[in-house]
């Protein structure tokens, strides 16, 4: 660690100004659970670091039909979100207790796969992000936020300040599969929201993590479900479509081959869970 300066802005305003001033040479850090290990291990040597713990972004508010989550809210804070059980489940699936006390919702959006388990749930809920710079604010959907492996639509000088989540109108389910029961990198994570009109699916959102360069939508699977009933046949079709369209990778946790197999299994289980919840 040879960091020369560590800034702890007291507001978003101060944070964006610091970012405008020090530009790309300053590392932004939220909970630090991704950034600090790299610094400790001597992989990254940032000269300047800006921590966001004091910037006033650890809030959760609940205006009509929406939940707004300050980007610095911890995953532990998400465990209290009774209105959206899928977010409680997803938060509980990240790391262990201490990691959830430190890791943030905003940080999870930037987590390289196989991390990003909370982001996958947000994607299934059609979350919108508020991006703020000295030039102003804009809103972008999480699905459009990702542009590639560890690249996003965030412009230089911008911060993610808020995540806005519509309270789900459909049924949701979430499954993370790892090599251990808990505190484990994902082989695959599946988050789904299905809106049903009687038997027929009117709208579906299926998000997958750990099987692409970032959390992704299984859009072919979604198409198959749209307008169809949700039954074992359509579920199987959607599951195999998801397995085909995802872009898994091999790492120390699982091979590409295995991940693809597990996508099929876990999409099927997740959707079946939704039918069980009717």
């Amino acid at each position: 660690m040879n960091t020369r300066e560590y800034f702890l802005p007291q507001s978003v305003n101060e944070a964006t100004q610091l970012l405008a001033k020090h530009g790309p040479f300053m590392l932004v850090m939220a909970g630090g659970t991704i950034a600090m290990p790299l610094i400790n291990e001597g992989i990254s040597f940032p000269q300047k670091v800006m921590g966001l713990r004091r910037a006033g972004l650890s809030y959760v508010t609940k205006p009509n039909g929406k939940i707004t989550i300050g980007a610095m809210s911890t995953l532990t804070q998400m465990l209290d979100l009774k209105e959206i059980p899928i977010l409680q489940e997803a938060a509980h699936q990240v790391g262990g207790w201490a990691i959830r006390n430190m890791g943030t919702v905003g940080g999870n959006l930037f987590a390289p796969p196989p991390a990003g388990d909370f982001a996958a749930a947000l994607m299934a809920l059609d979350a919108q992000l508020k991006l703020v710079s000295t030039a102003g604010a804009r809103i972008i959907s999480l699905t459009d936020f990702y542009t590639g492996f560890m690249t996003t639509a965030l412009s230089p000088g911008e911060l993610v300040t808020e995540i806005q989540v519509p309270v789900p109108t459909g049924k949701t389910a979430y499954l993370k599969y790892g090599r251990k029961h808990a505190n484990t990198p994902a082989v695959v994570t599946v988050a789904a929201q299905i809106e049903l009109d009687g038997e027929g699916v009117t709208n579906s959102r299926i998000a997958l993590n750990a099987v692409g360069p970032h959390p992704i939508r299984a859009s072919k699977a979604e198409e198959i479900l749209s307008g169809s009933p949700l039954n074992p046949t359509t579920i199987n079709m959607a599951a195999s479509a998801a397995a085909e369209e995802c872009e898994p990778f091999s790492d120390a946790i699982a091979t590409e081959w295995y991940r693809r197999k597990m996508v099929e299994v876990y999409v099927r289980r997740t959707l079946t869970k939704i039918t069980d919840r009717r």
């Binding site: 960091t3 020369r4 630090g32 600090m36 290990p37 262990g96 207790w97 430190m102």
Partner: protein
């Protein structure tokens, strides 16, 4: 590279420390203050051996900049060890062989403390859930789980 003065409460005592930018709580405790009960097993947030409590919540001190705990309350194993004697949790870890090489023990005890402070009657599943961020490579966890169950019994006055 300007060092900064940070004030916070460590083990019940208000202290003022001078730290270089981005110094972690782990480094401060171990290398500056000589409080070496907090271990450094991975510096990746992965092993839990450096767990300390910040306002009662377990955190990985290896990932936590000292400046972030300005004004907060930090507790380490030194802070819960009475003089003389042992905290009930220490007692049961010792008596129930919930220790082997001893390296994970301080982190395990800190998490146990945070758990029992919140939940005096944790079930087995709740204990396991609380411990998932703390690795032990020797014991196989079972004696640790049993020690925490025993600690709960003793703290609730129906031990032995």
């Amino acid at each position: 590279m300007a060092s900064k003065i940070v004030t916070f409460t460590l083990n019940g005592r208000r202290i003022e420390v001078l730290v270089k930018p981005l110094t972690t709580v782990q480094t401060l405790l171990r290398d500056q203050l000589g409080l070496t009960s907090t271990k450094a097993g991975c510096k990746q947030g992965g092993c839990g051996s450096c767990t300390v409590l910040v306002n009662g919540d377990p955190m990985m001190s290896c990932l936590l900049p000292v400046e972030d705990v300005q004004g907060q309350e930090v507790t380490t194993l030194e802070g819960i060890t009475p003089t003389p004697g042992l905290h009930i949790i220490q007692e049961v870890f010792y008596e129930n062989f919930a220790i082997q090489c001893g390296y994970c023990t301080p982190g395990m005890i800190m998490v146990s403390k945070a758990l029992l402070d919140r939940n005096p009657h944790p079930g087995r599943e709740e204990i396991i859930d609380a411990l998932t961020g703390n690795y032990c490579r020797c014991t196989g966890y079972e004696p640790i789980i049993q020690a925490i169950e025993e600690a709960a019994r003793r703290m609730n006055g129906n031990g032995n």
